[in-house]
Structures are given as structure tokens and as C-alpha cells.
Symmetry: C2
Subunit: 153 residues, 2 copies
């Protein structure tokens, strides 16, 4: 299996769960924040989706596109669908060699890393914030929540 | 660098942060739970530390040791220190070849996986629950929290 197929499977095993949680956030809860210093739900979701897309664009050496004219007018589900499919496209276009290319993240993180490491960092960032989101969604009143990762999905 | 050194660095880049959060949990908060269906703080911490140790023992094909006579008498900090150092020892003893060995997790997860995949799954599990823990600790009143990962640590 190619590295990009492999990584897409890994990406979707977590992103599918992120998107299931996003679907549970009712419009009355988009500004929910567990404490005054926490990111509100909508901001957290946006941060997750956008960071992954930007990390992937950097790894693929592509310019990230402006995916929405007015991001604030889109529903969380629309954001989730668009960012997920555009992120997937970027990964699909990467060859095995692209995974070893050095990516200059000096501005974002102060380091240069192989593309594969950038993608793994993006995954860890997603899993971390999805872990936050699980607590948010439970606090919104949901008690039937998925497993943290969807194996073979 | 050997695979075990590489993985220890990755493990500690997250576990150091887990342990910093654990240190912030005062004795008055060990039973804190965000909602009635959430794991209480102490149970969550115990689950994180123990799962990683058990996943690693499985990956290293070692019998996990009983590390405490009375786990419930130990402080969270004692649990964190002991589980972290014993987990580290298990990884240190693994050769590069051990990372490719097939590990039978039929009882735990219904699958057989290469040891390296078992360790990566353990990392994802840690990052997920550390993401939960960040919200718990903020809800306990802490506003100065570390980054989700400690690079070069």
C-alpha cells in the first residue's frame, strides 16, 4: 500500500470520530465553553479542521486554499465536510517520495521536519483536541459517544 | 538512532505533559468528574498510566508486573513516576527487530498487530485521554497549562 493510502486510513480513523462529535453539537451549543479561558466549541472545531488542512498543505508543499468566503456563515457540519475532503485530496496527491521531503516550518513552529513528521504532528494535534471535544460534548448532555478511534473504518 | 530511543523520545514528549497535569490535581479534586457519566480524575489517570504500561508489555512480549501492593494507597504522583519509569524500561529493552514482531492482542482488541503499531496505538490512547485531562484540570481552576506536547524534551 502506498504511504498516502496508509496515512489516509489513519487520518480517517480519527477524523470520522471528530466529525461524529461535531454532528452532536447543536446550534445552541456552538459557543459553549467549559471555563472562561477555554476555547468555545465552534472555535475549537474550526481550529482542529483548519490546522490539519494547513499542516497537510505545508507537508504537500501546496498553497492552502481559501475554502470559504465567509467561514462564519457555514455550519460546523459544512466546515467538517469541506475541510475533511480537501485535506484528503492533498494527501492523495502525495507520492511516497514526498513523505521524505524536508518541510520548512520555521515560521509556524521554528523547525524543519520531514513531511511525514509534519503529518504525524497534525494527527497528534487532532487527537489531542478531539480528546478535549469529547468532554465538551459530554457536558452538552450527550452520553452515547463513539470510541476515540474507528478501527478499519 | 535505535527505534527504542526514538520511541522513548516520542513517549516522553507527551508523558512529561501528562505528568505535569497530574501534579496539578489537588487531593480535593481526585474524584472530580465533569459529568456523572465521566471517569473521575483518579480513575482517568490510572487508566492512562496502566493502559500504556500494559500495551507496552504486550508489545515487548513481557509479563506486566504488579507495580503496587495497594494501588489505591498511592498518590497520583507516585503512580505517575512508577508507571512512567517502568514503561520506559520495557521500551529500552526492545531491539529494532522486536518492533516488527507480531503481537497477539486477540483478547484485548480482537486483532494481531506488529509491536510498532501496538506502541503507536498506546500513544494515540495517551494523547486522547491527555486531551480529556486538559479540560478536567482547567475546570479545577488552573489556567496556566503546558503545550499539548513538549518538543525536544
Amino acid at each position: 500500500m502506498s504511504k498516502s493510502n496508509d496515512f489516509i486510513q489513519y487520518f480517517l480513523s480519527h477524523r470520522t470520530v471528530t466529525n461524529e462529535l461535531i454532528e452532536k453539537i447543536g446550534t445552541e451549543h456552538v459557543n459553549y465553553q467549559p471555563t472562561p479561558t477555554s476555547m468555545p466549541a465552534r472555535k475549537l472545531v474550526n481550529h482542529m479542521l483548519k490546522s490539519f488542512y494547513q499542516f497537510t498543505a505545508a507537508a504537500a508543499k501546496q498553497e492552502p486554499k481559501q475554502l470559504f468566503d465567509q467561514e462564519e456563515d457555514a455550519s460546523l457540519t459544512e466546515l467538517a465536510e469541506t475541510y475533511t475532503s480537501e485535506t484528503k485530496k492533498l494527501i492523495e496527491a502525495m507520492s511516497d517520495e514526498d513523505f521524505s521531503e524536508t518541510v520548512d516550518l520555521t515560521e509556524m513552529l521554528g523547525v524543519k521536519l520531514p513531511a511525514e513528521k509534519v503529518l504525524n504532528l497534525a494527527m497528534d494535534h487532532e487527537i489531542h483536541h478531539k480528546g478535549n471535544l469529547f468532554v465538551y460534548v459530554r457536558e452538552m448532555g450527550h452520553t452515547e459517544l463513539p470510541m476515540f478511534v474507528k478501527q478499519g473504518g
